[in-house]
Amino acid sequence: MQSLEVIAPGLHTTVQDGGRVGFQDVGVPASGPLDRISLRLANALVGNPEGTPAFEMLLQGPTLEVHADSARVALVGCSASIEVRSDNPRRIPAGESATLIRGDVLRVGALGDSVCAYLAIEGGPDVPQVLGSASTYVRGGIGGFKGRRLQQHDTVPLKCRRVDARPERALPGPLDLALDQPIRVVLGPQADYFTDAAVETFLSSEFTISPQADRMGYRLEGPALAHAKGYNIVSDGIVTGSIQVPGSGQPIVLMVDNQTTGGYPKIATVISADIPVIGRRKPGRRIRFVAVDVHEAEVLRKQQDAAVEEQWSRIRIVR
């Protein structure tokens, strides 16, 4: 059986696809990638259809040994490269596909600027669909490889035993990680639970992503945001990007493994186009927020998808 053997797991490596749809009414989060753009482009480079599961790596990538006749891989979402230990040792830059053979060991070290990056493999890892998705929801032990992050000595089965010889592909240029771009939000749904001064502070201050950031949420450190009507609401729905503010006044941006309901007021929601942008930001990075209205947010999302489509169509052949 063809597989990848985990020599070193990296810090937090999980299988993610487009996410889990249709179970939020029974408390199962959508999960899926922090950065859907990089996942999509990584899949495109190895010739996978959109939505094929791939490995999401946080901060530090894994070391994997290829137990297949051949395997085509690509890394997208960071400035790091893939180090290949083999008879033909080499480095594969991010944004380029390459074909490895049995016994080759690939190593993705520290990711560099971005907190997350994606390692796609042609055909994808062969993991079962759980509730319609291969995405891993670690807290619930649902999906992906055994419902958890990779561990040393795991053997992750692959769909493809060998891949066809064909030219390798590369992105037209480096991906803009937008690490300094302000994060755009739509105010609400409970902006009225905050004082005018708090909303003003939220939009004019700099926040720092705290070390307690994970796929469920990014806690931010900065000036406290004052509530006007207390900090408890009757629990209502939470969406990826919701910015809730508990009693401490320190905002939490809910990310892709967000709980589906919650009882803290939400001052604003990160627009969907900027989920991948904030998703890449490491603990310690600074964030500023800027408000747009929902119509602008919808337009920005369409423009972003067109830009990704454009990048996809300009994928070139390298060798």
Binding site: V21, G22, F23, Q24, D25, V26, G27, V28, V130, L131, R139, G140, I142, G143, V185, V186, G188, P189, Q190, I233, V234, S235, D236, G237, I238, V239, T240, G241, S242, Q259, T260, T261, G262, K266, T269, V270, I271, S272, A273, V294, H295, A297, E298, R301, K302, D305
Partner: protein, 241 residues
């Protein structure tokens, strides 16, 4: 009644029927959820019912907040409020013996009731599943009879065993998996509340009704063994509401 449409970014719209926990509001939330799920409205991804509002998740590449708001307004205007619906009534086996109910004595003491009376009132209530949240499959069920209403524990537990039956405020719940928790544990059920192998992973859905049926520790063990052997079905009937 005043319905508010709250914007939750460019992928979700919240239809808010009120700001309190209330059966009539919950019925309106669940009614709209059912209508939307049956409507094939383009761009709707899924809906999340909560106590007093419905979150509608949508794909901003297919629809937009404005069109969705007017479509939902139309749907609400045209809907007959008197529409009858069906619901499921589950009879959930519950063991209230002290070994399965670590907080029962304290609840009895704090409410000034005898332990038997706490159990009696819990068993006598037909609960309504308002929503599922917190962790996969965790049902918020109400309403608890007034004498049993207590605030959450001041000192939440780090680990609450799966199957624990708990109360807090005017709600009761069952912990589907081992998790942290701040509710008072007054019993336990041997059944499975969440099974990710099933296409319908959560036993309970928002809108279902639940009654607890007292069992002995011996029956608890028997049912747990039957659940493990996949040979137990939780008693359930369709009722008109």
């Amino acid at each position: 009644m005043n319905v508010r449409f709250l914007i939750s970014g460019d992928t979700a719209l919240v239809v808010e029927f009120g700001d309190r926990i209330d059966r009539a509001l919950s019925d309106r939330v669940l009614r709209l959820s059912a209508l939307l799920c049956g409507s094939n409205m383009p761009g709707i991804v899924e809906t999340v019912p909560t106590f007093r509002s419905l979150m509608v998740l949508y794909d901003p590449l297919i629809t937009d907040s404005g069109s969705l708001t007017s479509a939902i307004r139309n749907l609400l205007d045209r809907d007959s409020v008197a529409a009858k619906t069906q619901s499921k009534l589950w009879r959930i086996p519950a063991c209230y013996v002290a070994s399965h109910a670590p907080d029962l004595a304290e609840v009895a003491q704090r409410t000034g009731l005898a332990a038997e009376d706490v159990i009696g009132r819990h068993v006598a209530t037909c609960f309504h599943v308002y929503m599922i949240g917190f962790v996969p499959g965790f049902p918020y069920m109400g309403d608890l009879p007034e004498p049993l209403v207590l605030p959450r524990r001041t000192d939440p537990r780090v680990k609450v065993p799966a199957g624990s039956i708990a109360i807090a405020t005017n709600m009761t719940a069952i912990y589907p998996v081992e998790s942290p928790g701040g509710w008072h544990l007054i019993g336990a059920t041997p059944i499975r509340l969440f099974d990710m192998r099933s296409a319908k992973p959560a036993l309970l859905s928002p809108g279902d009704k639940v009654r607890f049926e007292p069992i002995t520790p011996a029956e608890f063990d028997e049912i747990r063994a039957a659940v493990a052997a996949e040979s137990y079905q939780v008693p359930c009937e369709q009722i008109a509401v």
